[in-house]
Symmetry: C2
Subunit: 323 residues, 2 copies
């Protein structure tokens, strides 16, 4: 299967997983679940869950029988068909619940980030943000609920493989915690307030606000696939470089692309007086650093089984956007 | 040890656990960790973690060697002394990290509940609420971080006992999720908006907003202590009745006690036009129902080893407040 077909296949699996693993919009309280689904259904690239499924696919996988895959542990809380993705026989099937969990975490962080007390954004991917479509209290609770759902999914769907369940819980909780994802958000807020961030502060923000969850997505896939310690290290290193490349490229695009190409308002960072990679290092050095980071990510991926061709192409395509 | 001395001993252990297991206020980002600690240090009864430690104490406990108790799994994220509570040799020591996790979850729900878009409270336990002391964005992120920290603590400190780790993750995530704790918050908001809630709606709110986490606290203790399935069921039933009793008693006190006795503003619910148990059922029936629920909780506790004297007295003392 070529890259594009594989990417589409992963995304289709993820959409199916989101639909079946997240409580139905009719589940009480309906307004809360409708808001959770509204934000999840806004789409986006599904980058994090794609990384998880692709990383899991690199390895032999853990015996299906050991994982209570897509089978809810408690009767009362199931809301979708019990055997989501039936027929999709693949070892990445194991990784689907945690892939969905990562998308829930990403979506929660966007909902809370958009709130009036944070970035105060009215639009997200061309649609009203959650607090505009519903109201602030509902958006706040929908974010809280998506954050919690990530751990419900891990607790429920890996119950038959407790060591995997424990490792996934630790991995994604630490990545989402106060010293990584949320720490990055907080430092980002503080940097905005004082207008001038240093290079070290910007790297802290990028590494934690973006890099932590990309890394956790790759490592979670590796854990589901049964990667060895040294393979997990390669995934972790690749995630770190990918996260920095991703954020530098985002800053370059904000400074150079037009709004139509970007699919979101261009030049927003500069107008907001926000410290970006481009502002600190200039366009030339930023392009060079983005290239260095994506090359480093590719070097890490090359150490994985088969040279991880899908993930390598993903990194190359991302880097190609800035030329 | 008599009841009061035991309660004090549990609380001292919990304060110590909070201090050593939550990142120091100097950990980067310092403002975020300071806000998390500010809210945790506001005090309160520590009811949930007390329930956890007391429930764990009823049983034989799981071999210490199987639990990486208070020893962080990853070096980089430790911020306090590695061996918190050294010298406090007790089988409930095992239960301390999840007891702290439950207090983190409770505190996060209070911080978010106090935000302007929710209850918009300026004071909590006589001190400025988190968003008043810091700012809204910091309070939002501190709540998110405490919610996440609960799962970091479970993932980290029970790594050596993966089955326990997985069971605790599932138990507390489901209790805190969109169909229980957050669901109760959402229904509470919706009920306030329409001013008149039905008895069934009020019971849904009470059962989920309060009962779910009290139940999870007892069950988490039982899991740490090594309770059997039928003992876990007794704890679960006791938690359900305790949760309802607790909430009815809270409504009775709001209607009858003066502010000084209560330690918070009395009559607030009635003035806010909020539907309470007393408003729906009258004072007489409310007192009877509170008694029925606390008696039912005591009957469940009586099925546990030794008749669970500490927990039984806890329930009796709570019920006695309304007479």
């Amino acid at each position: 299967m070529d890259f594009t077909a594989q990417l589409q296949a992963y995304r289709a699996r993820i959409e199916h997983g989101l639909d079946t693993l997240v409580p139905a919009a009719t589940t009480r309280p309906a307004r809360l679940h409708a808001a959770m689904r509204y934000s999840l259904e806004a789409g986006g690239k599904r980058l994090r869950p794609v990384l998880t499924l692709a990383a899991a696919d690199l390895f032999g996988g853990i015996a299906e029988s050991k994982i209570e895959n897509l089978r809810p542990a408690t009767a009362g809380t199931n809301t979708g068909p019990a055997a989501a993705g039936n027929g999709a026989k693949s070892k990445t099937q194991n990784a689907l619940p945690v892939a969905v969990a990562l998308e829930c975490l990403h979506t929660y962080s966007l909902i809370h980030d958009d709130l009036p007390c944070m970035d105060n954004d009215d639009l997200r991917r061309g649609r009203p943000t959650a607090h505009k479509q519903f109201d602030e209290a509902t958006a706040l609770l929908a974010g809280d609920a998506l954050l919690t759902l990530a751990f419900q999914l891990v607790g429920r769907h890996y119950a038959g493989s407790p060591a995997l369940c424990a490792a996934l819980t630790r991995e994604i909780a630490d990545a989402a915690g106060s010293e990584q994802l949320i720490g990055g958000q907080m430092e980002d807020l503080l940097a905005e307030r004082k207008a001038d961030a240093t290079a070290a502060e910007l790297e802290f923000i990028h590494r934690n606000k973006t890099g932590a969850m990309l890394t956790a997505a790759l490592v979670a896939g590796g854990l589901c696939g049964g990667a060895t310690e040294s393979q997990l290290t390669a995934l972790r290193e690749a995630g770190r470089h990918l996260g920095l490349a991703f954020q530098i490229i985002d800053d370059i695009l904000d400074a150079t692309a037009d709004t139509a190409t970007l699919g979101k308002t261009a030049g927003k960072d500069a107008r907001a007086g926000k410290t970006t990679y481009v502002k600190l290092h200039g366009l030339e050095a930023s392009r060079r650093h983005a290239r260095e980071q994506s090359d480093a990510a590719k070097a890490d991926l090359a150490r994985l089984p088969g040279g991880a061709p899908f993930l390598t192409t993903l990194v190359e395509n991302m880097a190609a956007r800035t030329r």
